[in-house]
Amino acid sequence: MNSNRKADLQRKLAMTSVPKPPAGLAERIKSQIPEEVGARRGGASLFGRSAGGRTTFGLGIAASLIVLISSAYVATRLLPRSAEPSRSPAAISARSEKAAAAANAPTSRRGDMATLPASTPSAAVDEATGNAEAPVRVVAAPPRETTVVAEVKDAQAGKTTQPAGLQVADTAAAPALAAMPTSHMTGAAVAAAPVAPAAAEPSRAAVAESSSNSAARTPALLKAEATAAARTAAAERSAAVDAVVGGVLGQTPARPTAITVSSSTPLSVAIPRKQFGISVDPTAVESIREALGRQERPKQVDVAALVNYFAGSAEETPAGVTVNLEGSPAPVSLSNLTRLIRLSIDTPPTGSGIAPAAVAKDVHLSIVFEDGAVASHRLIGGNDVSSSSEPVLFDNTSVTALYEVQLRPGLRRHQSVANVELRYRDPRTGNQRKIRSALRVSDVARPWADTSRRHRLACLVAIWGETLENDTSGAEVARRAEELARQEPRDSKARELARLATASSRLQTSAPTGSGR
């Protein structure tokens, strides 16, 4: 090879030019930076090794340590309560005052665990009113956050308050509750959970009745007594708890739930209806089951709640707070520019056992659809929520929103379609964290069949729910859901959707009994 030719080749190779990186590439890369970027693995560091030297032995040691710490926590926080000696009158009085203060506390603020007293006032009040403290056993606890409160009516002011955290599990219930790793029982989330009116009214009446017998007493004592009465009644009716909680939650998805305790009614379940403005009402699917069981069209179809129920939680347990964004064309023929975009927020289990652990506070979610790529968009089954906040996110929570998006024609593959940002404060460190995720045109061009099971189920149920009134897609949804169920026989959600869609497709199209929403 002569030197001229070599120099020519070198010149051509060296001068090969490249276009400028596409706009937004850096932002897309940054949006994929993991939350724990660069963090070396804890299991390996136990032995002072580099992160590359991971060993299963190290993980085993780490797991053992976690179990040990959890056991120590349970032992130190719960066992001393059950072994606590009888209380002195002074202590009783002091705790009664504390209980009254708690009952007087405003409850419009949504659950911040730090603002609530850690101990329950009910134990002291029990003695003051001569009621023995009886353990409350909640067996059929829901699989995720379950919160138990006593709802007390102020006899004089006539207003209903929610005293902080009635910890029903603080005595003999501890072992039983410890065996339920995902049940949570504090008042922290209760304030955040709207109480179902039908469930709340009997409660208030019952407490008012109990209070009217003690009209000469101070309001503080009245409240404290009512709390005690509620607690005792709850203890006596643990079977009712089983029935109510099991009956409702046994067939509903895992969602933060508040159990309202009153003095004359069995425990009733109040369920948070929305998170981030998205309906997560787990009773929605139950009402549809019942309606289809009666061979009637459902009176109300809460499509967003259905999407949440069937989308469920992440297929893999998240390591931290995660934002999962996925898009695809619709599984049934819609416009060729229509895309379904799923946004799911998942929080990890913390393994704290009894109490719901806040994994994020001051949470702010925003989703921005790019005008240049998106002609229109809507949140399926609800009002569009482009920006929403939650004061706290507990562990083991999943929220899913499904958007129907109309793309503009003539888009480039790398054009941005949607950008999501989730900001929150880490309750452990107090640090602000930010998770960003983005979808491009190429991301939403994937065939529906290539997407995750979670996305496919969410899309199917959204289409089914939206057309349930006149049933134009029941058979098609049923067929596709059955395909999904065949692929994964353990997927009970796909089987259930197939069953419900088949049932709806068999209904007479002239028999709607209500309007959807």
Binding site: L9, M15, V18, P22, R28, S333, L337, G410, R412, H414
Partner: protein, 205 residues
């Protein structure tokens, strides 16, 4: 859109330090790596700002398609985040990234095509408005022929040529990656030129 050369869009710490005459070109990079290992997200973002254009440019030269290069750049960083805890800082950050990018590119051209067809009825119309990569070489065809010839080289020669000319790595850096002497790298380059000439001549006939 005016094409710009990789050196102009990616002021690496080492290069910048040389230009500025600062003492330790590695110091800034070490600080960045240490901050990322400490979980500093802003440091990771700074790393992206410093390097993504160069990674994109390298991949663009390797694959000849700016859209694909952008995809591969994202994939490169995804792999980099996963591998970052194992990065010991013994090589330059970009050298390490280039190696990941090159492997990502090789995986791409070797993997079976399973991507969604954008020609489906329900896919939006896609129009590539990116400028052609032929502003400097005599023609786009010639650039493509050269790129094709480079990709036909044996693995070790291909990596050496692309890392040196398209990734901007010094001979010494490539020698460190390949664990051979700089003389060995120069021999490879010489051999690669001979083979490229033969491939290009064959293509002309």
């Amino acid at each position: 859109m005016r094409p710009i050369d990789v050196a102009k869009v990616a002021p690496f710490p080492a290069a910048a330090a040389e230009n500025n005459g600062t003492a330790d070109p590695w110091q800034e990079e070490r600080r960045l790596i240490a901050a990322i290992h400490g979980g500093d997200r802003s440091a990771a973002e700074e790393m992206v700002d410093r390097t993504y254009a160069a990674v994109f440019a390298s991949l663009c030269r390797l694959c000849g398609d700016s859209d694909l290069a952008a995809d591969l750049t994202q994939e490169t960083y995804q792999k980099a985040w996963a591998a970052l805890p194992r990065f010991d800082g013994r090589s330059q950050l970009f050298t390490w990234l280039y190696r990941i990018a090159y492997t990502t590119f090789l995986n791409h051209i070797r993997r079976p095509r399973r991507t969604a067809s954008l020609d489906e009825d329900d896919a939006p119309e896609i129009r590539d408005e990116a400028p052609a990569a032929d502003d400097v070489v005599e023609s786009r065809e010639e650039a493509e022929r050269l790129r094709g010839a480079v990709l036909e080289l044996p693995d070790e020669l291909r990596f050496t040529v692309t890392a040196h000319f398209w990734g901007g790595l010094a001979v010494k850096e490539i020698a460190a990656i390949e664990k051979i002497t700089t003389v060995g790298i120069r021999k490879r380059l010489h051999k690669a030129f001979s083979m490229l000439e033969a491939i290009l001549d064959e293509a002309k006939q």
